[in-house]
Subunit: 408 residues, 2 copies
Amino acid sequence: MEKLNIGLVGLGQRGSLYLQDVIAQHPDVAVVAVADRLAERRAAAAATLAKYGSPAPREFAEASDLIAAPEVDAVVVISGWYSHIPLAIEAMRAGKPVAVEVGGALSIEQCWRLVETSRATGQPCMMLENCCYGRLEMLAMNMAEQGVFGELVHCAGGYHHDLRPEILRGVEGDHYRLAHYFYRNCENYPTHEFGPIAQILKINRGNRILSLLSVASKAAGLRDYAARLEPGTPGADKANWRFNQGDIVTTVLKCSGGETVTLTLDTTLPRGYSRGFTVRGTRAALFEDTQSVFIDGMDMPPEAEFDWSHCWGNVKEFYERYEHPVWERYLREGVKAGHDGMDWLVFDDFVQAVREGRPLPIDVYDTATWMAVTILSEDSLALGGQPVAFPDFTEGEWMTRERKLIWI
Amino acid sequence: MEKLNIGLVGLGQRGSLYLQDVIAQHPDVAVVAVADRLAERRAAAAATLAKYGSPAPREFAEASDLIAAPEVDAVVVISGWYSHIPLAIEAMRAGKPVAVEVGGALSIEQCWRLVETSRATGQPCMMLENCCYGRLEMLAMNMAEQGVFGELVHCAGGYHHDLRPEILRGVEGDHYRLAHYFYRNCENYPTHEFGPIAQILKINRGNRILSLLSVASKAAGLRDYAARLEPGTPGADKANWRFNQGDIVTTVLKCSGGETVTLTLDTTLPRGYSRGFTVRGTRAALFEDTQSVFIDGMDMPPEAEFDWSHCWGNVKEFYERYEHPVWERYLREGVKAGHDGMDWLVFDDFVQAVREGRPLPIDVYDTATWMAVTILSEDSLALGGQPVAFPDFTEGEWMTRERKLIWI
């Protein structure tokens, strides 16, 4: 099979790192074009490609010109949040499969437009949600498939990542997140960890989200942090800003199968990184923070002597029994760079699906559904936490897209 | 000072154990009366007291007769959930201070009646919420008082306790919880961990709960567990029961100070015990499950190398610096039996406050507020997760009961 000729849009911090760690090194990909407004970023990208022995890509200042370029067979969008959906739509209209980095939607209508464009053009669209390829997440998927959890009942996850320095101090000027934190209040980054949870719960494949509600705490973290920065240093000027974005946003989703999902946005208070990944079923439980698995009937100390430290890290044993085949092979062949190896897997899955013409593992319905959480949480917060109905982007197809009835 | 003459109502599993572990051994207490419908339980209680050299108590079949008995100075209610509030009201009307075991309310009106009775009679009422006296919870209270967390923003807690065997198999016949799980769907046991969280957030003392909402998962755990029991053994007959109580109930409260609180009821799926205690502020975080504390500026590995196992159990260091004075003394003098020593501390605090005539550490407003969560969660669930307003049982006094303005 031939290499996939890719056009890469967006060469900022994330785009340039992705190119370096993953795309430029992929044996089945040729980066034939890159687009970014800044010429020095384009030159840096060309240098990265040259390092791996690849020919110089065509350089575009405008994404639209890259999308229209005839040598580009598929488009990869790693730009700011605003442009993900518009550029994905443009790519599909140009008859090209498209992959977009993670991020929330800016309207529900935009999500519908994405879905309708994919249907009308027949072109696929995939969100590059790398956390769906995390080792722990894939372990859980495999355990779920094998019935270890019994009936799935509840999942939790979050984006627990202290971004205060990044948001306040910026990277080459103000961070693109800054305006979102100042003006908005919502679950602004839901797809870690909703992506893998949605896959485990078979959302859009025999299950769907019925409703969502969100509650936000006050916004105290950024201001307090800014107030403690050395006067005159980047970020210190924001000590009196009144941010709208609550420090902790708790979102609860309810599925047609009766499962609940709790998502937490947690990016402006001190703590260690976590995706808080939790899977609960009638026969087992898995917890990321303690790296623990509980299985009904497993050998445990009597309740009075029980202490969580007994179970910290016992997930190790479960990797021996339930490692996902994808990760088994990956560990054997050598895990690549990029967020603990996840970046490679998600990108590779997109590339191979497009090359082989098979359905994308994360399709346009998933992309729209996961991105919609942001807007719906904003709506619910605006309404004081009232539950809001979740659109069915498949328009009923979720019931018949997979033959197996999963609730039994 | 003289001993406090106590009448103990309820000698079931919990009451008899409490008597044995704590009450019978307390040097400042004389158990002058016990009440239970079952004569053999009363006899067992008398035997327990005799073991500790105490005279035989008067025995009553009816709680009302014990409450009316003139030798009883204070009443302790350790009966089933239904009777907590009615008996507390009866005790206060008889002019006696009263302590009640934990449990949820059965109506909001009942909570108001409790508060109004205390106001009208001048008699105090305290919920014996032992988790307010947990070592970790008191560490967090002390750290909060000393400003280690900075501004408090969010707390979480839950009752994560696999009760499937207890609920299904019963203890001396059907468990009193069984009917609640069959008929109702609510946060039926909120006060672990809402009690300590409410104290940390100064609820009713400069802060109050504004609203609450709940979302419940399906009820799958009990049925699946029952279906796997050996046919003919206790509980196996319930394999086809359709329980109303969702396995996981997520409740989110919003405070007037802008803080949010997440409570989880989690009693019918496999897992290890936890109260999931979490405190988040602008300058620090504390997590029960990992026994971790994060403080702004503490020495941490760089993000790419960070792994939670770096922090598992680091709370140890914080006990050295911030152990609550009550626990410091307790550890020196010897921790007593009863739920890791908590039972002794909560009971002792009630006894000494009554003997000294000082305000109870957990007063009637707290008791009513914490118990009300159950009913409000039931309302919110019935309304599909809609937020419901939280009554202010202090009728405005929460703003002035403590002089310090706590949000600054």
